[in-house]
Assembly symmetry: C2
Homo-oligomer: 291 residues x 2
């Protein structure tokens, strides 16, 4: 079996005074998600199933801005976006502005598998969740006391990229959006090419940060384009794409894996929760970008 790689992130940012409270919990959240994804890969599963498993683990973690623990909208509610893409055939699914679905990434997968569409929004997406039998949760499940206290601009997002033993790549991204956002705001996370992209011939990418700047810079697709069209290596492509978003005054980070198993995890912020597991080995997790 060829090399297997799973990479996850739990958002990036510039916390005040450069301090992350309860840092160990973030390392644990990354390690748990990596284990969920790695178990799939080591069992011979696909990169697609691996990124979904990893992101579902991150969605359930109340520390991270996706699924449970999502930031609150201007109305005090929770609206979630998610996407998933298969590098083998460029199939993709995504959902935007959905409420009440425990795992938005699972619903994105349903859009990909069960509909002729790529992106479903709001009530239409929720209708699919019901017909697909996905787990639904009351609003209370998503809104944590921590977010109710903060109700602040936070730029978390979670995501995963993977290379499986068959040489296939996949990416998935999920978010609760940005704190205090307008109802119906859709960020980069559910937009193929912005917050999520995968192409077996090139790389898989999941992004986090200022969603609007990431959309305007088509960050995930730009990484792939710099490699495919420009001939850059993964690290240079990731750095170059991020510079463009930085020029749009966007705080951002991304995780990426290429077809050879190379990994890049650049960010232009001080913190990005992230981690990687190779071939079922021990998880390497990090919080500060300088780690």
């Amino acid at each position: 079996m060829a090399d297997r790689v799973i990479v996850v992130h739990g958002g990036c940012g510039n916390p005040a005074a450069g301090v992350v409270r309860d840092e160990a919990s973030y390392h644990r959240a990354m390690a748990d998600a990596l284990e969920a994804g790695s178990d799939v890969l080591e069992g011979g599963g696909s990169a697609l199933d691996a990124v979904q498993a990893a992101v579902q683990s991150l969605e359930d973690c109340p520390l991270l801005n996706a699924g449970r623990g999502s930031v609150l909208t201007a109305d005090g509610g929770v609206e979630m976006d998610a996407s998933i893409m298969s590098g083998a055939d460029l199939r993709a699914g995504a959902v935007a502005a959905v409420t009440g679905v425990r795992h938005a990434v699972a619903l994105a997968r349903e859009v990909m598998e069960r509909t002729p569409h790529v992106l479903l929004a709001a009530a239409g997406a929720e209708r699919l969740a019901v017909s697909a039998g996905l787990e639904l949760c009351d609003a209370d499940w998503f809104v944590t006391e921590r977010q109710r206290e903060r109700w602040m601009a936070s730029q978390g997002t979670v995501g995963a990229v993977a290379l499986d033993g068959s040489g296939h790549l996949a990416a998935a991204t999920s978010t609760g959006g940005v704190g205090g956002q307008l109802r119906g705001r859709v960020g980069d996370s559910p937009l193929i090419g912005a917050g999520c992209y995968a192409d077996d011939a090139v790389c898989a990418v999941s992004c986090t940060g200022s969603g609007e700047a990431i959309i305007r810079g088509s960050l995930a697709f730009e990484v792939a384009a710099l490699m495919r069209i420009g001939g850059l290596a993964l690290t240079e492509a990731g750095d170059g794409a991020l510079r463009r978003v930085g020029a749009l005054r966007g705080d951002a980070g991304l995780i990426a894996v290429d077809a050879a198993g190379n990994v890049a995890m650049p960010a232009n912020t001080t913190v990005m929760h992230r981690g990687v597991v190779r071939n079922g080995g021990p998880p390497e997790t990090a919080v500060f970008v300088t780690d």
Copy 2:
């Protein structure tokens, strides 16, 4: 004043038996939209205002699948998507799955001008339309007898790209989606990088066709990437990007203008309604790709 160029499209497709009924009406619709955009440019207005004016004209045309005349969803309703992007500063606005707003592209402009966001969906976007004082219409206004009769898969979309006398580029795209689509389905039209992209340093692009394939191929951004990263000329970049979408079995077409005023209007279908006006001159319009 430097050269001014406005280009519009009214969707592409492969009509049965290669026949377009009432072909003259499509030429007239293109000419009307070109006049609306050209009037802005010749009056010293911006590319951004020109593409909005052109697209609003196309949205009002009951023959085209955007605004009035939009195709019907699986529920028999109308849901619209639109986007607009300024090449000068890469600002962008977009709306998805909105109902009841006469000019979805005007609402996309409001998202760009009045919110910190790029994309608003469904009820959240409609709320902005009300607060911005945009013109609202009853469902009956959008649903034409012609669409009620057809209720069929149609892949129309409308769009415009422009170069203004100050050297700025802009693009806008608007659609009623695809006939019989699921509620909440979002196509390429409101997705920056997929159905719409503009960057003064490169080109402005508006796409039409199989939305899902266009999203997976990030068609509009790919044109710009092939020029910026790959050094291709506009025509080669347009053709190359379209081939990638064709490989995903997508029917598609696009209109594009670069910073030097070059225009490309390729499609892999038999028909694409389109037209161009240069420096206030006579409109050149076409229906068949071989025209």
